[in-house]
């Protein structure tokens, strides 16, 4: 059984092709990573699968729903942390959490969430006065406050300090242990390695490999590099000179 199915997704912005051909499946309860260079179409892909943008081609099923047609239903089931998202400057942390939790029928306890994300000391601070990392934490909290069945997190830990990153990783694991399926877009290979069960590597709007982090590393052979890291593996797959797809990529 799959929770998310994407096949042959395509999306253009005018002449610019953002997603050329992306297919993958996400299984229940896994943490599924999407990695790839800037501009390779990761954000566009997750925006299409959450119904924020309409795909130009291909099919998407999320919990059996069509993100465009069943948008309203999907909103209740999917929590999203956008790469660029903002709140009104003068809205306080607790007000944002309280407000967003009221949008859902069965919300999580926002006070507990605020605590887990280390925001309790900042509960009365307005959004404009939060540091970058604190804004990010609030954004993660808002993605989880609706008790979603799927959490889509785009560059979850960008801007966080090392300790906050570790805490956030643990939070994602806890969320997964509660039965939530996680889709994670990231540029950090240590994060991908430690957190993700499987990874899709995208380059220029196409999936070039889908495998576990360990498989990606094991598969990599680089002249002169004795023990390649995941970063080596991903770079080898996405560098402009890399050609073709690896053996286990879809079709």
């Amino acid at each position: 059984m799959t929770v998310i199915e994407v096949s042959n997704l395509q999306k253009r912005y005018g002449d610019q092709v953002a997603v050329r051909d992306v297919s993958f499946e996400v299984r229940p309860g896994e943490i599924f990573g999407i990695v790839g260079p800037n501009g390779s179409g990761k954000t566009t892909t997750v925006e299409c699968l959450t119904g924020l943008r309409q795909a130009d081609g291909g099919t998407i099923r999320v919990l059996g729903l069509d993100p465009t047609r069943d948008r309203a239903e999907l909103r209740h089931q999917v929590g999203i942390q956008l790469q660029e998202s903002h709140l009104p400057d003068r809205l306080k942390v607790w007000e944002a959490l309280d407000l967003y939790s009221s949008f859902y029928a069965e919300p999580a306890d926002w006070r507990a969430l605020m605590d887990e994300l280390g925001l309790t000391a900042k509960r009365n601070t307005v959004f404009a006065k939060l540091s970058g990392g604190q804004k990010q934490r609030l954004s993660v909290a808002l993605a989880l406050v609706g008790n979603p069945r799927i959490a889509v997190l785009d560059e979850l830990t960008t801007g966080l300090d090392p300790q906050a990153r570790r805490d956030t990783w643990q939070l994602v694991r806890d969320v997964r242990d509660r039965g939530v399926t996680v889709v994670l877009v990231t540029h950090f290979m240590d994060e991908a390695e430690r957190l993700c069960d499987r990874l899709a590597v995208v380059r220029a709007g196409e999936v070039v490999a889908i495998a576990t982090p360990a498989e990606l590393v094991a598969r990599t052979e680089l002249p002169g590099v004795e023990r390649p890291t995941l970063e080596d593996a991903v770079l080898a797959l996405t560098s402009p000179t890399a050609t073709g797809r690896t053996a286990t990529s879809p079709n």
């Binding site: 309860g29 998202s85 009104p88 407000l99």
Partner: protein, 272 residues
């Protein structure tokens, strides 16, 4: 599938639906309360919306010679008396084209509307909450202006109250629709503010802020009749002096609400 995910899934049936209805009511109230807090925390906006009309009445009354004395130019009435409904039109125009427009454009530019569109709550509900808060501010501001006129200058009036309310509501609706339209076709919040003030001052002129009542030349009035704030001002003035507003003015208000609102709904994008 993980066992803990199951109860949520099952409850998406009947129980889930009524829980969703409850949360819809709760979230509407929370949205309005939140927008009200944000409105108050924007001191300049709150000032213009709520205090400005009354301040204007007091300042004009105190500073302009003869403002509260009967004047032969206008048939022996006191300028303050026919200036009051114009002050209400000014309040409507200001709240719509300054407060509402700026709040809307800033929310869109910052991605607030986009963030909201990832939740079960449609950004339309946020717009509605904003309009509710701004109209409430408007009513408060207008009430204060009337109170100032009565207390400071002993203004007496026998307005047509239903006519006054109709003119007020239709005027607010058509100006809110105009603000939505400006927000719809301006890409950034700077552009929205700029275009907003380009529209704002001619609207105030049409409303008679500088040439109140009988002082407005006839030719100008004929044009002003067809602008939303001009029509609102005329309708308010008629109702203020005890008559039902003219059909032409009400028709202009309804027509511009439908036209601007319809265009705005078509053109508006949740993110810039």
């Amino acid at each position: 599938m993980n066992a803990t995910a199951l109860p949520q899934h099952v409850s998406a049936g009947n129980g889930g639906r009524s829980a969703r209805r409850r949360s819809a009511g709760r979230s509407t109230v929370k949205l309005i309360v939140t927008e009200a807090k944000l409105f108050v925390r924007e001191p300049l906006g709150a000032f213009f919306g709520v205090i400005f009309p009354a301040a204007l009445v007091l300042i004009l009354g105190a500073a302009m010679p003869g403002f509260d004395e009967p004047s032969a130019d206008i048939g022996g009435r006191r300028p303050i008396e026919f200036y009051l409904p114009i002050t209400l039109a000014l309040a409507i125009g200001t709240v719509a084209l300054v407060n509402l427009l700026n709040a809307l454009a800033a929310d869109r530019e910052k991605g607030v509307l986009r963030r909201l569109s990832t939740t079960p709550v449609s950004p339309i509900r946020l717009l509605v909450a904003q309009i509710v808060v701004n109209v409430a501010a408007l009513l408060l501001g207008s009430g204060l202006a009337l109170l100032a006129a009565v207390l400071a200058f002993g203004v007496e009036a026998r307005p047509d109250v239903p006519g006054m309310l109709v003119a007020f509501v239709l005027g607010s609706a058509s100006m809110a629709a105009l603000a939505l339209l400006v927000a719809a076709f301006t890409p950034t919040s700077r552009a929205a503010t700029g275009i907003g003030s380009l529209v704002y001052y001619p609207m105030l002129f049409a409303a008679g802020v500088w040439t109140p009542g009988p002082l407005m030349p006839d030719a100008v009035r004929r044009v002003a009749d067809f602008t939303p704030l001009g029509a609102a001002s005329q309708a308010l003035q008629d109702a203020w002096s005890g008559d039902w507003p003219q059909p032409l003015h009400l028709a202009v208000l309804v027509g511009s609400t439908v036209l601007f609102g319809g265009l705005a709904a078509k053109l508006f994008r949740w993110s810039s």
